[in-house]
């Protein structure tokens, strides 16, 4: 008989139920620290940049961007796909890891889900504003009208509308459902009337009774079940924006899995970046431990390798297809007018994650912080390479042209960070950024055998 496998404790340090509640609620109840105000100020400034850029865009037209005739989509679509990709980690952590009983997720899921929602919010700006007549963007929705005119259901852009909005709604519900017990905690701890009322409404009459818990857990499970296919579907559908077209470099069947892997890759990288900052600022390194981060780094390594494989197989298929246009497109990617972007992408997405083969580096906060930022840059460039380099040189060389962003492309992208961080900062200030109810389930006290000899540290029996 071998010795029982012991799991590394999910939380470090000594925690009690009340300690968790006090610590996490305290973040939202205490006076906000000065860095928070500074950060919010910066974020709001960027948000103003976003509003200003959009305002000018509506006033002048899409011409203020760098898009031109062969390259009809530029940074706006790159940003859209990138933000949607970032938004993948949250639901993956919440839904798939939940179903797989990966209980280390409890420390980071709330955080990641919020990040998902905010990333999708940022993403959703772009399809709306990148169209020529943004005031008519609602025509993409199947709204009954006097013309009897429906959208074109054959268009992948329409599939996008459904896929992303479904994903957003499902993620929002999932996140909110998970919040209910914690909102009740906030309500109960609230000392002023207004908070009591607001949290009271949001908590939907949660009392923590046994029956409520049973309903709650079932609902949460069902939502996890609904969300799981969405994690895979949303970016698959986004990838059809490209895969369904006939442009070499876009017209590729590998795109759905390749995009999903890339999305998870970038989503986890973003979670790592934000987590490292948050656990530093709010001193919650004992709840979100290095073990959590290491697990995420392993996923990054896995999905990064999948993405790298996809890059390779694209070249193989281009050669294997015997299609001269396809072959040219890929040679052009690596050695053509946008080769610089391609090699940035390869460096960031393929080479950088390789550091995570080493345990020491995998657990090093500075290393993973830098790596995660590289990966986010790399994933942005991946979308740039796909969108721009394919369009800039397609079938007829007479049409070839070079695309460069304008100042407004850049300001809109930077401004979208303003929206993201503003929402995020408000979230960590006013809502429980770690799921108190769920973290408590992984405390030793939650184990029915707690205090009994031979009970396993790390949680209750499954």
């Amino acid at each position: 008989m071998s010795a029982p496998i012991t799991e590394t404790p999910l939380l470090t340090g000594k925690h009690s139920f009340s300690g968790i509640t006090a610590k996490i609620s305290g973040i939202a109840e205490r006076k906000a620290p000065v860095p928070w105000y500074l950060a919010l100020g910066a974020a709001l400034s960027l948000l103003l940049v976003l509003f200003g850029s959009i305002g000018f865009l509506v006033f002048e037209g899409v011409g203020i961007w760098g898009v031109n005739n062969p390259v009809g989509w530029g940074w706006a679509i790159v940003n859209f796909v990138w933000w949607v990709g970032i938004g993948h980690a949250g639901t993956l952590i919440s839904a798939i890891l939940f179903l797989l009983r990966q209980r280390w997720r409890t420390s980071i899921n709330r955080f990641a889900e919020a990040m998902t929602l905010f990333a999708i919010s940022c993403a959703l700006i772009f399809p709306g504003i990148h169209v020529g007549r943004m005031w008519l963007a609602y025509w993409m929705f199947p709204i009954p009208n006097q013309m009897g005119m429906w959208p074109n259901f054959r268009s992948p852009l329409l599939w996008d509308v459904f896929a992303v909005s479904t994903y957003f709604i499902a993620s929002l519900l999932f996140w909110y459902t998970g919040l209910i017990p914690d909102l009740a905690t906030f309500r109960d701890r609230a000392k002023i009337k207004i908070k009591k009322v607001i949290f009271g409404i949001l908590a939907m009459g949660w009392r923590g009774g046994n029956r409520q818990w049973r309903h709650y857990e079932l609902a949460y499970l069902i939502l996890a079940g609904i969300s799981t296919p969405l994690v895979l579907s949303v970016h698959s559908v986004v990838s059809t924006d490209f895969a369904v077209s006939i442009i070499p470099g876009w017209h590729t069947t590998i795109f759905p899995p390749y995009f999903v892997a890339g999305a998870i890759f970038s989503g986890f990288a973003m979670v790592v970046t934000l987590t490292i900052i948050a656990r530093k600022i709010f001193n919650i390194g004992d709840i979100i431990t290095v073990n959590h981060l290491e697990k995420m780094n392993k996923i990054i390594l896995l999905t990064g390798s999948m993405v790298g494989y996809a890059y390779g197989i694209e070249f193989f298929i281009a050669w294997y297809s015997g299609n001269m246009y396809e072959q040219f497109t890929f040679i052009n990617r690596a050695f053509g007018n946008y080769a610089w972007a391609y090699w940035i992408m390869i460096f960031c997405n393929v080479l950088v994650p390789q550091v995570f083969w080493f345990k020491r580096l995998r657990r090093s906060i500075p290393v993973m912080f830098i790596a995660s930022i590289f990966i986010n840059i790399g994933m942005w460039f991946e979308r740039f390479v796909i969108v721009v380099s394919s369009l800039s040189r397609d079938f007829l060389p007479a049409n070839w042209d070079y695309y460069s962003p304008s100042i407004w492309d850049i300001s809109t992208f930077i401004g979208s960070f303003g929206l993201f961080f503003t929402l995020f900062l408000l979230f960590i200030r006013f809502l429980p950024m770690i799921s108190m109810a769920e973290v408590k389930t992984v405390l030793p006290e939650a184990d029915p055998h707690h205090g009994v000899a031979h009970s396993r540290p790390g949680g209750r029996h499954d």
């Binding site: 011409g63 007479a398 070839w400």
Partner: protein
């Protein structure tokens, strides 16, 4: 408040007459009050315009608004009055240099909107050119001069008449000593009559004619050779072998429209009864004609004469019956094999062998060329000679004398009738300075241009579509210039001004022209015949009698007078060459359509540059966009470099007409003034220039970044023998799997199914289709900055590729418009179904539904969709809006647009056929590009009618569809390009860039 009420009251018209007056409608007299009218018109919005139309209807018996006051006769319809929405067509003539181009002007509710060639006119035969097409925009140019000015003050024409009245009295006394007229060349009975009346009235006055680009060298040569002023009319359709010496006869020589048409007719491989000519071109810069060549020899312009001597020697050695060829000429070695091939081909072709020299070559080259044609027998066969009647020819020498006399103070009063000599006279004449020595200077011009600014008087000139006149085509055919709209800016025609000079009183163009024509037509039945001429646009039966070419000189006399050739070109001895451009000599510089039109070869817009061959650029260490300084003697000019493969080494090609200041909103700031290096000794080319780098660079807006086909089967080519061996080579060029769609196929077997065929074998890249499309479809002009960003809006574009080596490339053109794919990739991806197919196979565009995702454009493999990135029509001057076609929607910001095979023309033709109660016939519908094309390269019609021309061409060999392997099923197909190389030279031809059938596309 009171003041406001007063002002407001003033805006109310007290009577209908006043109302009409305020818009300047009431003017009957050709003099007076035209000023206010013209300044108003620029402010007129569409709404106001309609209001005025309403006012004019109320005054129908009093005056017609914006319509000429005299009787004009519509070409097709005979409307009792204007039917709103139904255009009228009027025949008129656009004189250009000593040529006349008969056109038909489409007018909507009294405003001209489109120009087409007049099928009855010998110089257009229904086709047109970029300049004819763009004349519509020139008419409405808001920067056209609208005022009579004297020394910065506004004047009335009556003021001018009183000024001239005093002068005239003085001149009448001394026979006009010190009086001079500087006019543009013409070929017009009325102008000729007035000119001779002027000379009678003022026998000592001078009349000098000058144009910066003209056929001066050729007419000089013919005059010295035959003693008569002759004009040669080339019959390219009769030629089997053509040698063009520096002659861009398909684009910038005179009579290019019929030249292109005839050349195309003689270049029909495999078609029944037709044959394939062979074109040799010797030139310095790359021209569209050079692009059509089967063999092209690049030589510095000055060496082309030496080449001719070498050819002469070769031909004489081979037994051409040419008298007195001195020995010892033609020793310069060029390309021996090439020369031998040309010589043998010409001799074999005999009277079907044609040599053409361009206007850039000196008279002696023309003389020898005509002698050679004479010896070959092609003079009289491939060249018809006609007398130059009623014409005034450009003479640089006369201008030189005039300028000298002006500078010497011998000219007291100078009338400059049209033209812009301050800008375009040879720079060594110092015309502007000489002008300051003339006491009274009067300039008649379309713009308040460089010359107007330095003249004491400036009189605004009427546009050719606004005035009366007449013209003689090169073959002698007479036609009338009739106005299609009342003068927008109150200008006066040259006829009216000369009339005023002669009579010292007001003269109406209509009366002057009718007076001339009374003697032409004769008194019998004058009115009826006059109306017939106006209706037809030509006076039938006025073709001059051909003149037999009889040279009075022999070759040895010509050769004996030659000066030795100059030093060879080198890095320190560059040859500068001056060329006509998209704005011709600069007279169209303020025409936005022509400024934005890409140069056929360089693909530059809004600019000219010093064009260099790649190797020369490398030796000089310059790259595209580098600002360089050209030095010639003590003159210099800074302008950017643009590298063009195929130019002769150490030759700098300089397009003319750019670099304007204070001319107009369009012209100002576009390009560089190359006239500053153009001296009387080097009007076409000059040696001895050097180039230095300035270290600065400028951005040039070109529309095509990439110049090769990358080995793709885009333009499919074969030699004549390859084609004869494998007639289906074009279809076989690409192998692909069966083309199946996952969607059920729509049944296109019923009704009309529109399709188009473009023959790449005759397309010479002249761009007439591009401007015609812009005019027909209200395509906006976007400006240099937007073009540089890749946002040009042309619905049909001509792709230009170089093939072969960098030094000796061949040039191929391909017009690309929306291919109207049956399985259209754009339609499938539009989320709002804004672009959909109609049952006649058109890929239509619903602008109102478009939200502008641009996905359709991304998914278009031809990239023919154009997006309105900004509201491009917002800044359009109100008056320019009158040029717009009311049958085509003006697109707003944020929507996609593209070609729909001129859907408005299809619908109009259907309506007309229904009204006639007849079936629509093949040829009833012509798309704008098709109608303009001088090469007749474009065919359009119903694919379901097996007898239609387009259906027959699609079934014929050479037909292929571009990117058919993508299964988009385009409705446009192309006919492959065939070259006809000389067997002995064929081996030398680089084969790179051709697409033998072994090459595969999509696997």
């Amino acid at each position: 408040m009171k003041r406001y009420a007063q002002d407001k009251n003033r805006r109310h018209w007290s009577s209908i007459a006043q109302r009409a007056d305020s818009a300047g409608i009431q003017q009957h007299s050709p003099v007076g009050h035209r000023d206010e009218q013209s300044s108003d018109i620029a402010q007129i919005g569409r709404r106001n315009f309609l209001k005025l139309m309403g006012a004019s209807l109320a005054l129908a018996g009093v005056a017609g608004c914006r319509r000429p006051e005299e009787a004009i006769v519509p070409y097709v319809d005979q409307p009792e009055e204007i039917v709103p929405g139904v255009p009228n067509y009027y025949a008129t003539t656009i004189p250009f240099d000593t040529s006349a181009y008969g056109v038909i002007v489409e007018c909507h509710e009294g405003r001209p909107t489109k120009i087409e060639g007049n099928p009855a006119h010998p110089s257009t035969r229904g086709a047109s050119s970029i300049f004819l097409q763009a004349a519509i925009l020139g008419l409405y140019d808001p920067n056209r001069s609208a005022k009579i000015r004297q020394g910065g003050k506004n004047r009335e024409f009556a003021d001018f008449l009183s000024f001239w009245g005093e002068q005239a009295a003085a001149f009448a006394a001394d026979g006009g000593a010190g009086l001079a007229v500087l006019a543009e060349p013409f070929s017009s009975p009325t102008l000729a009559r007035l000119k001779s009346e002027f000379s009678q009235a003022y026998p000592r006055a001078r009349w000098v004619t000058y144009a910066p680009l003209s056929d001066e060298t050729r007419t000089t040569a013919l005059k010295s050779l035959t003693g008569a002023e002759l004009v040669p009319v080339y019959r390219y359709d009769r030629a089997r072998v053509i040698l063009a010496l520096d002659a861009d006869f398909l684009q910038h020589e005179s009579e290019s429209i019929t030249a292109a048409m005839d050349f195309a007719a003689g270049r029909q491989p495999g078609d029944a009864g037709a044959a394939m000519n062979r074109l040799y071109v010797v030139e310095s810069a790359y021209s569209t004609t050079g692009g059509m060549a089967d063999h092209r020899l690049r030589l510095p312009s000055e060496d082309i004469g030496s080449f001719l001597l070498a050819l002469l020697r070769e031909l004489a050695d081979r037994g051409l019956a040419l008298e007195n060829v001195p020995s010892g000429i033609g020793n310069t070695e060029f390309n021996k094999k090439w020369t031998a091939a040309v010589a043998s081909d010409l001799l074999e072709a005999g009277q079907a062998g044609l040599i053409v020299a361009g206007r850039r070559q000196p008279p002696w080259v023309h003389e020898l060329v005509f002698l050679l044609n004479h010896a070959l027998g092609s003079a009289g066969q491939c060249i018809d000679f006609f007398p130059l009647n009623d014409a005034a020819l450009s003479s640089t020498a006369e201008l030189n004398k005039l300028t000298t006399d002006m500078a010497a103070g011998q000219i007291n009063t100078l009338f400059i009738l049209g033209g812009n000599p301050v800008y375009n006279a040879p720079v060594d004449f110092n015309f502007a300075e000489a002008l300051d020595h003339v006491a009274h200077t009067i300039h008649l011009g379309h713009y308040h241009d460089e010359t107007a600014q330095r003249s004491a008087w400036h009189i605004s000139q009427a546009h050719v579509l606004e005035n009366w006149g007449d013209a003689r085509a090169v073959d002698g055919t007479l036609s009338v210039v009739q106005p299609t709209i009342a003068s927008l800016y109150g200008g006066y025609s040259d006829i009216e001004l000369i009339g005023a000079l002669v009579t010292a009183g007001p003269a109406k163009g209509y009366d002057l022209v009718r007076t001339t024509w009374q003697s032409i037509i004769g008194p019998n039945d004058f009115e009826k015949k006059w109306r017939r001429v106006l209706h037809d646009g030509v006076f039938e039966g006025t073709v001059s009698e051909e003149i037999t070419f009889t040279p009075l000189k022999s070759a040895d006399r010509i050769i004996a007078e030659l000066s030795p050739p100059g030093r060879d070109v080198s890095q320190e001895n560059l040859e500068l060459g001056f060329y006509a451009s998209n704005v011709f000599d600069g007279q169209f510089a303020n025409n936005a359509w022509l400024q934005e039109l890409p140069d056929p070869i360089t693909k530059l817009t809004w600019d000219n540059a010093s064009l260099l061959a790649p190797l020369t650029a490398e030796k000089l260490g310059v790259a595209n966009g580098d600002m360089v300084e050209l030095h010639l003697d003590d003159r210099s000019l800074a302008l950017p470099v643009w590298i063009v493969p195929g130019l002769a080494e150490y030759c700098v090609a300089l397009p003319l007409g750019y670099g304007r200041r204070e001319l107009g909103r369009v012209a100002d700031g576009a390009g560089f003034d190359t006239y500053l290096l153009r001296t009387s000794g080097g009007m076409s080319y000059v040696r001895g220039a050097t180039m230095t780098r300035t270290g600065r660079t400028v951005e040039l807006a070109n529309v095509q970044d990439h110049n090769t086909m990358e080995g793709r089967p885009i333009i499919r080519e074969a030699t004549l023998s390859e084609y004869q061996a494998r007639p289906e080579f074009a279809r076989e060029a690409v192998e692909h799997p069966p083309l199946k769609s996952i969607y059920p196929d729509y049944d296109y077997g019923k009704g009309f199914q529109w399709g188009m065929v473009i023959d790449l074998n005759v397309c010479n890249g002249c761009n007439a289709c591009v401007v015609a499309c812009q005019s027909e479809n209200n395509i906006p002009v976007v400006g240099k900055e937007q073009v540089a960003k890749g946002r040009e809006m042309a619905w049909i574009r001509t792709d230009r590729y170089f093939a072969g080596s960098l030094e000796e490339p061949r040039l191929v053109f391909q017009p690309v418009a929306c291919q109207q794919c049956e399985n259209a990739p754009c339609e499938q991806v539009c989320p709002v179904a804004a672009t959909v197919h109609d049952k006649e196979g058109l890929n239509t565009m619903n602008y109102n539904r478009c939200i502008g995702t641009r996905y359709c454009s991304n998914n278009c493999p031809y990239k023919v969709r154009r997006f309105n990135f900004f509201n491009y029509t917002a800044e359009m001057a109100e008056v320019v809006k009158m040029a717009q076609n009311p049958d085509v929607t003006v697109r707003s910001r944020g929507v996609m647009e593209k070609c729909t095979f001129c859907l408005q023309r299809i619908n109009r033709a259907k309506r007309e056929a229904r009204k006639r109660g007849q079936e629509l016939n093949d040829g009833d519908i012509q798309t704008a590009c098709q109608q303009a094309c001088p090469s007749r390269a474009i065919s359009f019609g119903n694919l379901n009618d097996p007898a239609s021309r387009v259906a027959r061409l699609k079934a014929a060999d050479r037909n292929y569809e571009l990117l058919a392997e993508l299964n988009v099923r385009p409705r446009i197909s192309y006919r492959a390009k065939i070259s006809n190389p000389h067997p002995q030279l064929a081996a030398d031809e680089p084969t790179g860039g051709r697409h033998p059938a072994s090459e595969t596309g999509q696997g």
